[in-house]
Amino acid sequence: MSGVNVTTFTIVIILFVVVTGVGFAAARWRRADMMNLDEWGLGGRGFGTFITWFLLGGDLYTAYTFIAVPALVFGSGSIGFYAVAYTIMVFPIVFIFLPRLWSVSRVHGYVTPADFIRGRYGSRGLALAAAFTGILALMPYIALQLVGIQAVLTVMGVGASSSNSFVKDLPLFIAFLVLAIFTYVSGLRAPAMIAFIKDTLIYVFVLVAVFYIPTRLGGWGHIFGFAQAHFAAISPVTKKPLGTFVPVAQSIGSTRLDFASLALGSAVALFLYPHAITGTLAAKRRGAVKRNMIYLPLYSVLLALIALFGYMAVADPVTAANVKKAGNAQLAVPYLFQHMFPSWFTGVAFAGIIIGALVPAAIMSIAAANLFTKNVFVEFFKQDASPALQTRMSQWVSLVVKLGALLFAVELPHTFSINLQLLGGIWILQLAPMLIGGLFTRWFHRWALLAGWLAGMLFGTIAAYNVSSVTASHWAGSSDIEFGHTIYIGLTAVLLNLVVAVVLTLILKAVRAPEGADETLPEQYLADPDQAPVPVPAGAGARLDG
């Protein structure tokens, strides 16, 4: 524990304890029967515009934002700004389909995206595929949060000096355990409440950093000029430029098409993730969902500023040298803050990043747990499970999912942790035809959708596995070269998925294969009921609200 700054460490611990307390207290907020999956997993579906904004913001801006994006900008330049383009594009895209999903889910009481798939296509198999994809895709995304926490802890010097890998990861395990326990106890209420604290911390340190750090580094002109010269330099290893300062038409690794496909793929993917849908379904009214599409871009401004930290780290010789010595681009932002800020403020910023990773990790594991309980456990194993049993199941599964994420965090190469999120994106995008398609049309045949999904999943996984780099032989990136252009694998995979689904639908319709029942009605996609549907009590149930 040498090299630990006591002030920084103390501030982080104090803020962490406060947040943990809030996490446990959240169970009493708008007190209700926690042994009900709607309560534990959707916060009682009673969140207005304001809380939904914080909750979705907590979902969307994560360690991905604070660690992974600046790390990519630090390492490769402008390609990292695809994340900025993506968070702008995401809102007009989801504006098209998300209110429809909210409405139909509210009318029918759907908790997960797979519930909707099952109701729309009358197909348990398709719903199982959707649930499986959701759980699988969330694991690398949660893993990314853990990598982010680890980056901060490493720079703080906590445990990093030990050569024993167990001691080294111990602080991470402790943070992880606390997260697991308060998620278990408080469900979705915990991250919703903590999101307030998290966002306040983050807004404060980002704004301070954006105005203060450039004054230390000779102004924005110097930062941009330095970055431009830096990325134009030829790397002695690859004999190519280190990166690009703006996306160019022809270049290896950073073309305009790569930039646009990463942004589009990520934007479509975001609200296919079960946790983003969970956050949406927890909203009280359809209007709250729509208004959020208008207010949420406020967070995008923040993201753009945070991405610029990558250039600040490039332009600051001390930070750049530290990162190079550690050989880990993820450390760019933590090192930058440590060098630029007084130690107490570094503590505030570090606590903000750690909490900013814990909140989404909690929401994601809750969403994955809901998926498993509703669409695998109840559907295939215990149809008459009581609400209390369902909630208990979800609580335990949320722990299992986090352990799976820990495996991803340990096993996959960390050169750019952003690849963890992009890998999840490749998988979750395969739900686009059945989910987004299904919100607008019942034309697709359920078997064709299943075949398309399988084709997309297989192609995407194999293609991602085969991406290699100088430092890693597999899983090294998320873009590959198709027809002479570098493009995001998720996008090519979902195009393949769509083509298979369309062709097979035409064939299956020609041979009149059974279509399956559709329990939804067209006007239900526009409905705005103000009363939440009463959860159907299977058996006796433990409802105390009567």
């Binding site: 646009a260 610029l308 067209p522 526009l526």
Partner: protein, 106 residues
């Protein structure tokens, strides 16, 4: 089923111009960011910021504004007496019947 389909489409049929405007607003909003050649250049600079970087910052409030207008227009589509409103009322009534028996849906 067919009757309900007609009902939900009637909002678009009744306001073709407003509906087109909404679709256009959303499409333009996406295009402004998706078409990278539009902004992947260095000049004109704004202060110390190269074009690529200040464009991405400026486009955020623009995107918000376009969506806000689109949402306002949608509200006009949904005024009482139009298809959307009656659809919402109908939807609440159908919850029970749908849960009772969805087998005969097709």
């Amino acid at each position: 089923m067919t009757q309900a389909t007609i009902r939900s489409r009637s909002a678009i049929a009744a306001h073709p111009i407003t509906s087109t405007a909404i679709a256009l607003l959303v499409a333009v909003d996406i295009f402004l960011v998706l078409w990278v050649p539009l902004y992947s250049r260095l000049t004109p600079k704004w202060g110390d910021f190269p074009f690529f970087y200040w464009y991405l910052l400026i486009i955020m409030p623009v995107s918000s504004l376009l969506l806000w207008i689109a949402a306002l227009l949608q509200k006009r589509l949904a005024r009482p007496g139009t298809g959307r409103a009656s659809g919402a009322v109908l939807a609440e009534g159908t919850v029970r019947s749908v849960e009772a028996g969805s087998e005969d849906g097709q």
